[in-house]
């Protein structure tokens, strides 16, 4: 049981242009789980990881591992191990020397004990036959395994990974992803994993922490964050294709119990859908951003009468197990994910419907979520927790 705790960790750089805040008051706890730091490039996720590793000094805030303040400790005294994006293998040493190097410098083990540990670790990663090879002779996947072996051999309390799959090709990446997950689950080790790839984050994480501009936006289980994003940024960042976001105005409609969400298309006001009045924290005239997950849209072509709105099919991207349908509504473009059997023709009109339960609403100015599709799920969870 190892707890990694970041308390209000901040990193500022001073340069000629002034002070730049790379990481701004990030607080986070990870305990025997895999936490993914996710965000676009330049969001501060790698800087955060490097501060945990001790490779980067902390401007303010504390980092604790198992309650001990390690903020000012040398990297080798923190009981962490790190896998770098480019692996950072010692190019002039053999595989065996690479794995054993840390043991040699930060333990009192004899050469024989070190050798045994290296052998055991190599066996674990299936690289026993490579121990005498030069690092330069290895393939990408092998380098990856050596880097993992080198990190794990010291039995760290906290395991840090900086985009470890970024330099592998697609097939190898998904293989290594599975392998990493199994390794982490098996060793039950507190792990912090940095990536910009939302799919990698969704599939690997016990918990996702999304950063933007140095600020922690939201953290939670992948599904919870996906269903219940705190802001437009989070909603847009998680999910492929990303969430469709459209500015709409709430207006009264024929039914007094319902509100219509309308937007302007070619100078005309079009109703996208209607929502129950009491269900939404909305009043007529409110301007909000409507979010719709592509997979919650259903597309009927040719358009039949019914709820929803009419759009033009711009193009369909076949994905094998899904079709991405790009739709055009006036100047606006959005995407629907439909089963591959449904194949609307390009240039044809179609009817698009969405379940009002599945929509997201955001404040049009701050971007904060007003209502999310996951709220019903959370209500359910809370209800079941209180009853138990």
């Amino acid at each position: 049981m190892v707890e990694l705790k970041l308390e209000d960790v901040t990193k500022r750089y001073d340069d000629a242009q002034g002070t730049e805040t790379a990481v701004d008051g990030v607080s986070l706890v990870a305990e025997d789980e895999l936490v993914v730091l996710l965000g676009p490039s330049g969001c501060g996720k790698t800087t955060t990881l490097r501060m945990i590793a001790g490779l980067e000094s902390v401007t303010s805030g504390r980092i604790r591992i198992e309650g001990e303040d390690v903020t000012d400790r040398h990297p080798s005294d923190r009981s962490i191990a790190m896998v770098f994006q480019d692996y950072g293998l010692y190019r002039t040493m053999s595989v065996g020397e690479n794995i054993g190097y840390g043991l040699k410098h930060s333990t009192d083990l004899s050469a024989r004990e070190r050798r045994n540990k290296v052998d055991a670790m190599a066996a674990k990663f299936g690289i026993e036959d490579l121990l005498d090879r030069d690092v330069a002779e290895l393939s990408g996947g092998q380098k990856q395994r050596v880097a993992l072996g080198r990190a794990m051999v010291r039995e760290p309390d906290v395991f840090l990974l900086d985009e470890p799959l970024a330099s592998l090709d697609a097939k190898l990446r998904s293989e290594m992803r599975t392998e990493l997950q199994q390794l982490q689950a098996e060793m039950d080790i507190t792990t912090v994993y940095v990536t910009h790839d939302q799919k990698e984050a969704m599939t690997m994480a016990d918990r996702i922490a999304i950063l933007d501009d140095g600020v922690l936006q939201q953290s939670g289980s992948p599904e919870a964050v996906y269903r219940n994003p705190a802001s437009r940024f989070v909603a847009d960042f998680l999910g492929n294709p990303p969430m469709n976001q459209i500015e709409v105005v709430a207006a009264p409609c024929g039914d007094p119990d319902r509100l219509a969400l309308r937007c302007v298309v070619n100078g005309e006001s079009v109703t996208l859908l209607t929502v129950a009045r009491d269900d939404q924290s909305l009043s007529p005239g409110d301007e909000v951003v409507l979010g719709m997950r592509p997979e919650t849209l259903s597309v009927t072509s040719p358009p039949a009468e019914g709820p929803g709105f009419e759009a033009i099919v711009a193009m369909t991207e076949y994905q094998g197990n899904d079709n991405f349908v790009h739709l055009r509504l006036g100047e606006m473009e959005f995407t629907a994910v439909v089963p591959p059997s449904s194949q609307p023709a390009s240039g044809e009109p179609c009817r698009v419907t969405v379940d009002p339960q599945e929509i997201y609403l955001f404040d049009s100015e701050s971007g904060d979520a007003i209502r999310t599709a996951g709220e019903s799920m959370i209500d359910r969870t809370l209800a079941s927790e209180s009853s138990s």
Partner: protein, 306 residues
């Protein structure tokens, strides 16, 4: 198998003659490089061959008389001469000394510069000055600094009690050679520095970071990462410096006449004593010694690592 067919097989030319088109292309290629080959032969091969020829002759002072063939006499004279072996020893001391010191100094300064600091570019430019300033200028500056009357260096050495002779450092055989070595190292360390700095920047930072996490200190990082990464560059620097120092003439000659290396000995023999045949023989021996060194060096370190 005839010599011709063996040659074609060895060079792989036969493969290029599989079809008429390929043959035409190959012939065109040969025709295209022929002029350059001829030109290079004329300007490089001819003087070398002529030098070899001269080393077996005595060249009379009268330009209208042809050189007389004397066989190995010049070489015999050299290998039995004290002056030749003296010059050889001086050359070796000078070459090894200034190669080693310029490489070490270059490495040290490069390590010092392998970090970000304000004004790094300017500082790097300044470091290059000894190497790029015309040698005639720096040689005079050094002579000035070394002058026993007003030079700063003898005065300093005298102050520290290291040196008290009336004779200048450059005017005395025992001190002239170390001084020339020091001058050589000073003038040429920027060359080593340049190559080392470029190589150091190509070492991924993540290796040092991994080493820090692994608990390796600064010395271990240098020994286990930096030095092995620089091995190839060090070999190249040493090889090139050795070749250049071995042939060095101006940087010794301009500073002092007390240090006679092989190139200077050859020059004196050929153009001061007008024994051109003997001079040619010295330069040929110089060439052979150097070729032996280069071949030995490459065999030792391996061609692929250079």
């Amino acid at each position: 198998m005839s010599v011709g067919s063996r040659l074609t097989a060895a060079t792989g030319i036969d493969r290029y003659f599989e079809s008429p088109a390929q043959r035409r292309e190959a012939l065109l290629g040969i025709a295209l490089i022929l002029p350059s080959v001829l030109l290079i032969s004329a300007v490089i091969l001819y003087p070398i061959v002529y030098n070899v020829y001269l080393s077996f002759t005595t060249v009379p002072l009268n330009p209208n008389q042809a050189p007389t063939w004397v066989g190995l006499q010049n070489y015999l004279e050299l290998v039995t001469s004290q002056r030749f072996w003296g010059a050889f020893r001086t050359t070796m001391v000078f070459t090894v000394g200034s190669t080693v010191f310029s490489t070490l100094a270059g490495l040290a300064v490069a390590l010092l510069f392998d970090r970000e600091f304000r004004g790094r570019r300017l500082a790097r430019g300044l470091v290059l000055l000894p190497h790029v300033t015309p040698i005639i200028a720096v040689a005079f500056v050094w002579q000035f600094m070394l002058s026993p009357l007003w030079g700063a260096i003898p005065n300093m050495l005298a102050e520290w009690g290291l040196y008290s002779s009336q004779t200048g450092l450059l005017d005395q055989r025992s001190t002239a050679l170390p001084t020339v070595v020091a001058f050589g190292a000073w003038r040429n360390f920027p060359f080593a520095f340049l190559l080392f700095v470029a190589r150091l920047q190509a070492i991924p930072e993540s290796m040092y970071e991994a080493a820090r996490i692994d608990g390796a200190g600064a010395v271990a990082q240098f020994k286990d990462i930096t030095l092995p990464e620089l091995k190839g560059t060090i070999a190249i620097v040493v090889l090139l410096r050795f070749i250049w120092e071995f042939n060095a003439f101006a940087q010794v000659w301009l500073l002092t006449r007390r240090v006679v290396t092989l190139p200077i000995f050859a020059y004196q023999t050929a153009f001061a004593n007008f024994e051109q045949g003997l001079g040619a023989a010295i330069s040929l021996l110089l060439f052979i010694i150097q070729a032996m060194f280069v071949v030995g060096f490459i065999t030792l370190f391996g061609e692929d690592k250079l």
